[in-house]
Structure formats: structure tokens, C-alpha cells
Symmetry: D3
Subunit: 132 residues, 6 copies
């Protein structure tokens, strides 16, 4: 395995999980921190998400839970609610994961997470039946 | 469904997930806030964990992720690492979930989560092969 | 006490504390997580706020303090600044509570809390003298 | 009002609220950051706690709530649970304040806060009937 | 040193570090908490930033790092990204400081910090060459 | 640049910054998550700390600030207080950095950071004059 493969593996994984949104995040960094865009592809996606020990559905449930609980990264939470749907987590499972965070991080965190999910679901619905 | 059932359903779920540790948490509250012990059984376990929309394995992965990321509730993180193992999450999956949090909450949070897992695994190993 | 009473007691308490805003939060959940709306009424309001051991003024001071300090739930902070006023906390006491958080959570948290209070006070003033 | 008065007013307020513990915190800083000990007396106690707009009982309820919710400052939470008792908050009110944080910061934060209260109450009880 | 000097020293330091933005923050508090505006000048700027033991460049790097990592005070982060530039930290050093927070607080915190820097840099560029 | 160099560059940087403690952290992961030990060397040290755009002194000041402010990673804060001293930050500068966090994350965070520094300084002093 060489460095080039690590980046390419990450980019493929990023596309599989996040679709177009992931690439737009990478592009948004071009003008300010292009190396950070590379790290973002390499470490989270090339290293972590490419590991075989945990399926992508579980990985996305874990991220939705953590970002809901932390409550200070709404843009990323929305990206990962969409990503969860992309890899086969159902809307119901997303909602259950967020609701459960009321127990661990309080009702405001869960409420704000549910509002983020509502937005993502509405946007997805607006793209037509094929995207659901 | 009446109130008594909600408590009983919660207690059964608490035992299924947390085993003896859960009951010890409830007991530790007896001298200071017995009503809180009741709420703890009723809302998280009687209401949330009893919902059918998300399997217990995913629920425990979500909690291990969130508590690792928050980083300020080590005793509860250990309880839920054990709970994850109790409901069928493998050690490898627990480790993967915690490692992934390095991406979302930083390396210190992931490192401290891994040290918590190491302790729980060691304690479990010490109980003999039957407990593994 | 049966389950129905727990919900009804919670709804009455929610109206007493939050006024119309509380009901709008409940409605906003209808399309995405109706059960969560029920839990929100039952546990925080039916269980916790209905307890006799601490007066509502102190409870709202506690919430305004905590949400200011956490700094990641501005919508809920605004709801509770209004709720504090509803149950008899004065504007001056709200401001003092938020200012004190500079000591425990830093000046940015207190500053952002004061800006939230400024908005709530302005909106309240705009409703005319009867609403003050 | 001159600078000396600000320090003296703070020290008197610190003694009123925290008793001996407050002075021990100040002493613990002598070897590493004596100026910080002075700031600690001057700003929180000489400025904030000396303000007339909010009674000390409410101020201590606010702090116990915030430190329970933040969950990363257990030593200071214990000092303020004791301080709350010193200024007339009852044990029941302390417990209610902490329990309420389950709604805003999750059950682990409330549980850890209750365990801190249990320790403070036990230590206080051990000092004999006069200290209760 | 008397109290008046402490305020004046703070105001001079605030202007040196934050420029006009600092004074606008102070003005925004006039209608709601004028004493807090005074504390803001006195303690952070009159006391802390006026200390000789650490140069202003290092102080601003420390603040940009901390506010990026905490992730819940974006307005203040932007003020301090500008302040860092004001006291001689280069754009590259600001970006490096924020990127490094990916290691300690996760990629979302660093990403949101970089987007804040992008906004501040763009606004600065728009003011013409003299302001760069 | 190939993958092997990235690891080796990271290990050299880890030794330069953290000394023996860094290698002990890596060893502590051997039994539970050896790949995470590799990532820890590669991404933070091989990628981030090896970048030329910010000197190591500033990087360590940034980390001490961030970990003090977050307040939930005391073991890592101690490692980086020592690391700061290793790369030429003075004790006084460490103390100033931590004190400044009272403004951004509250007095408890700063107090706990100062207590961590006190421990590190004491341990360092105990190693004899050569280590000071």
C-alpha cells in the first residue's frame, strides 16, 4: 500500500458514503487549506472508514449519535444524517438514534438533532421519488 | 399500558442490557435520590430502549460513540462498553467505534475511550472463560 | 397516578412555564418524532417540573444557567429565558444569572447568553405593555 | 471604591460562601500562580457574587446546575454543593437542581452530580450534628 | 494602580488587539448589561492580556485554538481570528493553528474553524490592500 | 514521500516533542488497538506537527490552551504541558496560557489546568537539577 492508494481509497469511500456533499466539503477547503482537504480524505475515509471491523451502517449510526450529543457541529450532523441514509440506515433508525441521545446529552441536543433530520429528510423528499 | 408496567418493562430491559451493574447504579441512588432511580429505569429503559425501531446492538454502539465523544462520563462509558458486549457487539466492534471518534471528537477522547475499553475487557477476562 | 395523568400533568405544566412556545415545540415534532413530543411532555414536565422540592423560579434560573454555560442550545436558551420571565424571575435576575456564567464557562458563553436575552426582551417589549 | 476594597470585599464574600474550602483553593495556587488566586478573589467574588441583583441562594443553584451540566469540573461542583448548603439551600433543593439537569445535559451528568452530592453530604454528616 | 487605571489599561489593550470590533462588542452590551461591558474590559483586557509573561501573538494563537476546539462560540472565534492578524500572526499561522485542532477536538471543529477563517480573510481582503 | 517515511517522520517528531511519554502512550495501545497507535504517530505527528507553517512552541501553546479549555482530557493535558517545556516554552508561559483560559472557558477549567501544571512541574523538579 502506498500513499497514493491511501488518498484514492479515501476518495472512493468518501463518495460512497457522502456522495456529492463530501466532494463539496473538499472543494470548500481549496481556497484556504488544501492540505486539510487531503487529510480529510486520507485519515477519516482512507484510514478509518475503510477498516473492515465495523460495517458502514454502524459507523454512520455512531457518528449521528456523537454529533447529536456534542451539539456543536450542525453542518456535519446534516451531512452524516444524509450519509446514514446513503449507506442503508432507515429514516426511522436515524430518528431513533437521535431520540436516544436525550438520555445521554439531554433533550435540547436531541431536539436540535431531530430538527436537523427534519431538514435533511425534507430536502431529500424534494428531490423526487428516485432520491428517497 | 399502565405506570407499573412501564417501570417493570424498564427494569427487565435494564437487566438485559446492563446486567448486575445497572441494578447497582439504581441501588447507589437509594440513599440520595430514590425517585431518580425510578426515572432512570422508566425513561431510558422503559421508554427509549424498549422501542422497536432500532436494535439493541445499534443502540449500544450509539451510546459508546456518544459517551466517548463527550469525554466527561467515564463511569457510564464503562457500563455501556460492557452493555455493548452483553447485547452481542464484539470487542473488535467496540474498539472500532471508539477509534472512529478520533475523527469527530479528537485523539484524546478516542485514547481515553480505548483505555476505558481496555479496563472493561481486562475485568471481563479475569472472570474466567465463561464470562467472555 | 396513571399514565394519562402523567401526560396531562406535563402538558399543564408545560403551558404554565413555556406558554405557547412550548406547544409549538411539541407541534414541530409531529411530522418527525411524535413519540418524542410525548416524552418531552411526560418526563421533563410531567415528572421533573411537577416535583414539589424546588420552586419554578429556581428551576428556571438553573436552566438558564446550564444552557448558557453549555452554549450549544441557543433556541432552548431563548425559550427558557422567556419561561423564567413567565414564572416570575425578573429581567435583572435573568441578566445576573447569565453574567455569573462568565465565571464558570467563560466570557464568550456569557456574551452569547446576554445576546439571547436581549433578543427575548426586545421581542417581549414589541408585544406591547400588556405582555411585559 | 479602590482596588484594595475590591480584593477585601471578594475575600469576605468568598469566606461567606465557601468557608474554609475557598481559602484552601486560594492557598493551593500560592506556589504556581499567586496572581490567579488574587483574580479568583477579585472577579468572581469581589465583582460578581457581590452584586445585589440576585440572592446568594439563587446564585449557588445556578452554579450547581451549570457545573453538573458541564460535567468536567467535579472538584468545583463539590465546593459549590457545600457552598449552596452554606448559604441556605437545602439538601433537597440541591438534589432537585441536579436531577433536573438530566433533562438538559443527560442522565450521566445528573448521575455524576448526585454522586458528588452524596459525598459532600456524607462528609458534612461526619462532622457531627452541629454541621448539618 | 487604581481601579480607573485598570479600566483604561483594559480599553487601550482591547483597542490594540481587537480594533473597532472590540468596542462594538462593548457597545452591544450597553442596553442590557453595561456592568458586564466594564468587566469585559477590566478582567480579560485590563488584567490578563496586560500581563507581561506571554506575548500577544502567543495569546491570540491560544485563543484561536481554544475557541476552535470548544466549537460553540463562532462570533468570538471570528473576532479573535481578526485579532490574531492584528497582532502579527500570519494567515498561514492562523490556518495551521485551526488545522491542528482536528487532532484534539475532531475534524468538524477544525472544519468549522477554517470556514470562520475563510470569512474573516474574505472580509479583510474586501477592505482593500491597506487592510491586509 | 512514501507511507513508511510518514510513520518514521511521525515517530521522530513524537520523540522530539513528547520524549519517553509519547512512546509509552503508543505502547499502552499495543494490547487493544495497535492500528490506532500507528494512526497516532502518522496523522498528528507525521502529518500535522511536521508541517513547517507554525513553530513547535506555538503548537504546544495551542494544545495546552485547547485541552485546558475542553477540560475533559487531563492525562493528555499533562503530557502536553511537559511537551511544551520540552520544546522551549517556559513554565511562566505555560502558566500564562492556562490562566488566560479562565476568560474563555471559565475559572474551574483554568484552576484544573493549573493543578495539572503544578503536578507536572513537581514531577519534573523531582528528577533532579539536570531535568529542569
Amino acid at each position: 500500500m502506498n500513499l497514493e492508494n491511501r488518498y484514492e481509497r479515501g476518495l472512493a469511500k468518501l463518495r460512497e458514503i457522502d456522495g456529492e456533499i463530501g466532494e463539496r466539503v473538499v472543494e470548500s477547503l481549496a481556497g484556504i487549506a488544501p492540505d486539510f482537504a487531503r487529510y480529510l480524505v486520507e485519515f477519516p475515509f482512507g484510514d478509518i472508514y475503510s477498516r473492515p471491523g465495523l460495517d458502514l451502517r454502524s459507523r454512520e449510526i455512531a457518528v449521528v449519535a456523537a454529533l447529536t450529543a456534542m451539539g456543536n457541529a450542525t453542518p456535519q450532523l446534516k451531512v452524516h444524517i444524509q450519509a446514514a441514509l446513503n449507506v442503508g440506515v432507515t429514516r426511522e433508525e436515524v430518528v431513533e438514534t437521535i431520540m436516544q441521545m436525550a438520555v445521554y446529552a439531554g433533550f435540547p441536543a436531541a431536539l436540535n438533532g431531530l430538527m436537523a433530520a427534519k431538514e435533511v429528510f425534507a430536502q431529500q423528499g424534494a428531490l423526487g421519488p428516485a432520491s428517497v
